[in-house]
Subunit: 434 residues, 2 copies
């Protein structure tokens, strides 16, 4: 088998065999197949596509390019959730302890923010002492002892994906459905959970801009997961305006804790419950969605979920007292309320613009490796659909630099659309793909 023949076959739009895909991924991981060959191949995949079977083979080959965690000795079922990336998406901070508080083990490897999209690890690291860089042994030990762990990917997790992703980023081959799906799923499969709920975001603050794209990606990932022997479902959720009120790392931690205390914004609570309910259903821990939702609401109401959150943070070295004392979190020097410049209904808050504004404030990364200011961000109140009068509160801006504050204020105001009429409201959960 030769790399050049495999490239030519895909170039001609033919279907690669599992053996060919394994040969290519293994050779690439070992450095025997050059970057330039993988780049040509990726472009051929981009333009010619892949069948579901090819994409599954690619996913499994990348998953098995490094260590694949076997968590079966810890629990017969380990749950994971994964978001395709959005703005204000602190769902994991609520859903993981909420589900774990019902006795279902949640073991998740998570990522960092890049561009407009935030990252769960960055949010958790706003809590003093929190460690996101667990070793594989620490990951499994904590899962066994606490039934909940969220950590960064270990270096040996799907190294082929890491290498291919870096290459795709500079060769204009990122936005390919089979390449996106196999990238996400290879990491999910290597991380060891056997029950996976995907949260595929769609809209202006998501990588998938249309429902058709999001549905195609969700269906593909669900098929791959099932072919790989996982129980899996995907929720397709709206990401036109930010999720919840808070955007910015420490501010989102506060909102997550408030949600666990029963005071979360209604729309964000609904989102967390929807995702968590799918996890319960896949785990056979609920007979139907109504049953799942009832169990989850009870765990929120009686403090079990909040208690689990504290135990989790503590187990990973974080200051669990943060639950009762938000002053432990970093706070920005400049915190000011911005008011509505006009009367009208809020018809839109462009989530992508919001995400990019928080990056400019220092709360996200323009490029890999940038350091993060966990304190900065914005809290929206009210949100889309509300009627405001000129001078009413619109959002609170948290910044550590006056010039950045001014730029962010202008950019955020420009992200709003006002309308004299009440806007049609979009359902938060578009659909569930099973």
């Amino acid at each position: 088998m030769r790399a050049v023949d495999i490239i030519a076959k895909k170039r001609e739009g033919e279907t690669l065999t599992r053996e060919e895909i394994n040969f290519f991924v293994q050779g690439f991981t070992r450095g025997e197949i050059a970057d330039y060959q993988a780049a040509a191949w990726a472009m051929a995949v981009y333009l010619r596509g892949m069948t579901n079977e090819e994409t599954t083979a690619l996913t499994l080959a990348m998953a098995h390019s490094g260590q694949v965690l076997d968590l079966s000795a810890i629990a017969p079922r380990v749950l994971d959730k994964h978001s395709s990336g959005g703005v204000g998406d602190k769902t994991t901070l609520v859903v993981a302890p909420l589900v774990a508080s019902l006795g279902l083990p949640v073991g998740k490897m998570s990522g960092r923010g890049l561009g407009f999209s935030g990252g769960t690890l960055d949010k958790l690291e706003a809590i003093p002492g929190f460690r996101a860089d667990l070793t594989t042994a620490e990951f499994t030990t904590q899962l066994e002892n606490y039934g909940i762990v969220v950590s960064g990917q270990t270096h040996d997790l799907a190294p082929a994906d890491g290498k291919l992703y870096a290459l795709r980023d500079v060769t204009a081959t990122v936005s390919s459905l089979p390449l996106i799906a196999s990238s996400i799923m290879s990491k999910k499969i290597a991380a060891g959970a056997n029950i996976i709920v995907l949260d595929v975001k769609v809209g202006r603050g998501a990588f998938m801009k249309t429902e058709a794209e999001a549905t195609a990606l969700a269906e593909l990932m669900v098929k791959i997961g099932r072919l790989a022997g996982r129980r899996i479902a995907a929720v397709i959720s709206d990401m036109n305006q930010p999720l919840g009120n808070a955007v910015g790392n420490a501010l989102e931690v506060i909102e997550a804790i408030e949600t666990l205390k029963g005071h979360g914004p209604a729309e964000f609570v609904e989102h967390c419950l929807s995702v968590a309910a799918q996890m319960l259903l896949l785990a056979d821990a609920a007979r139907a969605e109504a049953d799942a939702l009832a169990q989850l609401r009870a765990a929120l109401a009686d403090g079990r979920a909040l208690k689990k959150f504290g135990a989790w943070i503590d187990a990973q070295g974080g200051a669990a007292r943060v639950v009762d004392d938000y002053a432990l979190l970093p706070r920005a020097r400049i915190v000011e309320e911005i008011v509505a410049p006009q009367d009208g209904f809020i018809a839109g808050i462009n989530a992508e613009q919001v995400g990019l504004t928080v990056v400019d404030l220092g709360g996200g990364r323009a490029k890999k490796g940038d350091t993060i200011d966990h304190a900065v961000g914005v809290v929206f109140q009210p949100k889309v659909g509300a009627r405001v009068a000129r001078g009413d509160p619109l959002f609170t801006l948290h910044a550590n630099d006056r010039a950045k504050f001014d730029a962010a204020k202008a950019r955020l105001l420009a992200a709003y659309t006002f309308s004299p009429h009440a806007p049609a409201l979009v359902e938060l959960i578009h659909k569930v793909v099973r």
Copy 2:
């Protein structure tokens, strides 16, 4: 401007501007644009194509990535011919001195053989002492003093093409019309001739297998040449059976000299005259094809072309006495005649199989850098269309190794098709593209 944006634009099938193509080629030549980016770009070009304007811009960018020879101080018109590569193609050895003997300066940079296709420089180097590695200064001086020079490409000629070609070879992006055309034409333009006749081969022993492909390539190269200010035409010629009788370096030198002496195989003579006539017409050295042919036949008949050949070989350090003494050329130890295994008409001699057989004998290269045995090869007599009886001579095989001889004999006999009926004969010159 960013390389990744240019790749993405081509990936989407859009038309690149001249500025974008120049940026990409210059960056790639300087090593600022990585091999993997050029590979992804080449695959996008392969699958999305290029307009004639884009291909011309690419050609000129690659031509100007190094030195572009200006031969105008030597002569207002310098002629070149270029073959797309075939089996038994010793046309340059005849046409260059033939045209030069009429007072028209011929300055050609030529290549080496690879795979089934032979190379002019390898053939010339069968002559003891012949130097194919002239410097640029030697190239121009010889052109000025002798009116004829054929040498290898200098290192600084279209370096972007050399770099891109090496990359295409290992990324399955060779057989792309705009990439092939721009590769050939960038070298032709950099080499300085302003009158160019292309000999585009079509058939089993050529890179273009169908007349449609060959015509498309010829038309594209003619357009590029014209847009670059060259006088240019393309002959499309048959390469299903080997050209002439001899295949193998020293054997082809002998056939070329015999042709210059007026004893060449009729079909090969016709081919040389057709190519040379196009050169005369483009140079305004003949009023019409009949006039051109008459001049060329006269130069063959009265020995002017042969004399020019001798002067040329001598000027480049070769043993010009070879003209009268073929014993100066290397000769194989095993030379045996092979006879027809059956009665019938010769309906086909698969040129690609012949070319690969000569490579196996040691007379060509399986990969770049392989050394060559100039002595080995085969002389076919009779050829396609002839009627033979079992036991009649079919070909003479020249080898330096008994095992290789046996393998070549079997492979060559398998390359024949016999028929009880006279086969329809293919015209040698399919068409001329102007």
